[in-house]
Symmetry: C2
Subunit: 528 residues, 2 copies
Amino acid sequence: MTPIEMVERRTTMNGAEVLVKTAAACGIEVCFANAGTTEMPIVMAFDAVPGIRPILCLFEGVCTGAADGYGRMREYPAMCLLHLGPGLANGIANLHNGRRARTPIVNVIGDHATWHREADAPLAMNIEGLAETVSGWLCTSRDAENISQDMADAVEASLQGQIASLIVPHDHQWVQSSDDPVAPPRVSCVPIDFDRIETTVGLLKSARKTVILMDGKALRKRGLHAAARIKAATGCDLMSVTFPAYMDRGAGLPFLPRVPYFPEQAIAALSTYDGVIMAGAREPVAFFGYENGASYLLDPASRKIRIAGEGQDAALALEVLADALHAPLAGNDLRAMVSIYDRPPVPEGKLTAEKACTVLAALQPDHAIIVEEGLTSAFAYYPQAATVGPHSFITITGGAIGQGIPCATGAAVACPDRAVINLEADGSAMYTVQGLWTQAREDLNVTTLICSNRSYFILQVEMMRAGCTAPGPKSLSLSDLGNPAIDWVSVSQGMGVPAVSVTMAEDLAEELQRAIEEPGPHLIEMVL
Amino acid sequence: MTPIEMVERRTTMNGAEVLVKTAAACGIEVCFANAGTTEMPIVMAFDAVPGIRPILCLFEGVCTGAADGYGRMREYPAMCLLHLGPGLANGIANLHNGRRARTPIVNVIGDHATWHREADAPLAMNIEGLAETVSGWLCTSRDAENISQDMADAVEASLQGQIASLIVPHDHQWVQSSDDPVAPPRVSCVPIDFDRIETTVGLLKSARKTVILMDGKALRKRGLHAAARIKAATGCDLMSVTFPAYMDRGAGLPFLPRVPYFPEQAIAALSTYDGVIMAGAREPVAFFGYENGASYLLDPASRKIRIAGEGQDAALALEVLADALHAPLAGNDLRAMVSIYDRPPVPEGKLTAEKACTVLAALQPDHAIIVEEGLTSAFAYYPQAATVGPHSFITITGGAIGQGIPCATGAAVACPDRAVINLEADGSAMYTVQGLWTQAREDLNVTTLICSNRSYFILQVEMMRAGCTAPGPKSLSLSDLGNPAIDWVSVSQGMGVPAVSVTMAEDLAEELQRAIEEPGPHLIEMVL
């Protein structure tokens, strides 16, 4: 029997079919999946019920990272289908990144049949305990009759900018279920606080020097335009958080410096402001706490106000603020706030990390999606790309490495007509290298640029910061990826992605141009 | 400054150095590590304090799986060094396998500095919540003065056959600590219940047909010898659990059928027994609960007795039982219970899963360590290897795939003089493929035999079991690894492990022989 014949023989659908039908009705189009026996009814339901495209990933960290990339581009969730506790556990690191990005993601996790749980079978785990660590919404299905509502609730919860995890026991998938029609999810937003907007106008007028710290929707076009208006009207500065989930960038948009990574630099950069307006951003904190270091980065004497927090539309808050300031909607004052189109020339000679970044800024096509997990190697890219054509920029929000390849994969699924370029550290790339295979299978337009410096270079920097100028052989061995050197061309081709290795800037330019023009995935190892 | 100079400038050690010194004093020799900033003082302590060999793994699932393989071979823990919540999360699936195997493993997980926790920095997670899901012992360091005792407690706890997880905030690593001498860990064992042995003698004498279900120490040489004596004295049957953590096997040892994987077959195999003795084994349960299926596999009418449970020495229990039965210690009756040395001939012609298994049984060297994560492809191996030279046999206890490559890596570190052969499914291999790189760096004697059937074949079997004889394109796509086919030679060479692909049994034989003879790691793709 085929799955469709199996449905036709029954008068009702089973729980799995109701789940898939509801997910499709709620607007879910894609499911990044690595299923097992306890999810088999859902797997078969993808054939029996139309509407959802399942995409196989060969490791769950790829599924969840792809859902993160998809959700950041679409502002709407993809579904992940994960196998029991171990499958969820493998996906947690990238769910953590998604949680920090406030990406809508819907996880469906199979569990043992309810009556089989007490047997504590080999794969049994505390799935709820695992899911709680990353989920803003968590539900274990109580029976098959509620599956439609559970699924719709999950989608609605995810749209608050959080991970929604629905655990579905195997028997709730296979038993018959009535197909309750469920209302489509509502996107609700915490309303803007207008009193706070008034206070912010006062702050902007009275402070010596004010900065608007931006994150969330503030970093999308609407928010950036409103911020540019405010800057034109008041002379305030604009700044992005260190690791934005998503940013619209390029010519025609204002340039936002990012809060520096190391706390002493961040404190220095922020110390000039006696007024700080947070739009979609939390109060900035140090990535790590160092000996004799600080947690909080703002001048304690500064006046701080948050005009839009989690679950609020920071772009709308900035628009309301701009209007309250009677900020210009057009004209030379506003035009002076945004970048004028300009590209760096393609550099020549032996590749360095800086030159690699310049080549990318010089050649990236308009409307590219840039996923940046290059860490130390990508340092020079951000400022150079400020003036190139309009593009999307995505970073590693939660610091859990292994985000780039999956996130680029999901972004390419979300936006098949756009070029995705993943500027990727070699150490990070190894974490979820299996994602290359999904790029090959789905023929995705992703170009992966591997920054092959053959080290966890950030750790060597950290050792120096800790006062160790001459690391011993054991500590060096834990940050050295050079023995043996990973042959990225071989690894990539082995997973079906055409690849080349370059050592010269002009060769990188030629290969990057080719990779962008040819459909399908490519990988370029940049030996740095 | 070098790490040693840093120590010499101080009058005391820091917390990290005390931790490493204590671990070494407790007999820890190896640390499988992927560290970050919050573990940097421990990384530097490996150089400042002698005794521990750190081994870099390029993904935490490799660290934890390697520690599992090491612990199963040594019956003593290795240490894992993991970076915050995301690093621990990446290691959980293989810790789950280790938990089910009752392997001693000591995790050390860094956390943010205590004063930095409230800042909820990007990498902050509920580490305790994650660790609880797999740890039998869990402690978060309260201050640097207790680190020595905490570490010694962790080692002692792990020796109960469980995962011990010690979370150490960054500041407890860098602050000065007095170096308390700590007593070496004691291995304590729950004593044997002698009354129960008497009852078991009665059961063996009165039951029509009895089986001893064996796991844990019962499957190591001492336990197997005692079980053979009991069989010689009583005519009972011996059986292994489906997925043993470790088994001594080969000529001179009794052959133990394993409880079949699918519940209907297991129930049939066990239905002939009206007496069941569990030695180190739990009551067997179905791996999955199926529609109209059962959880428990023993005949409810059978008489069951457990002579050694968790934390008890099942080999000792069997020895005491054998003595109580006045079972022979030598002689023909006992010799008839064990396998006579015999090897299958090397097959010829186009490779199949069965022929691949036969080649391995025909050629594996004496005292090899066989890691079996071949799933459906490895089905024919187990019975054929019963009569070959003595060897160790390790399986995927918790069902979390991605166990084979890491486990083989750890076993090779534990036993550098023995050949390790990993019979590995292709889908499982992709989960933790990064482990090949560690095999190359450490020049480990591991031969990986990839069963390249280009599918999650078990899932296709499961679809048939669910009544779906003609899966649709979407469900097939989620179990098909063939589009594109993974080029295992390319992937393996890219990570520094020499590799070949074979399609004929005689070529496999030649390449396996060569791989065993040449030092260092090898990979053979067996196209099935």
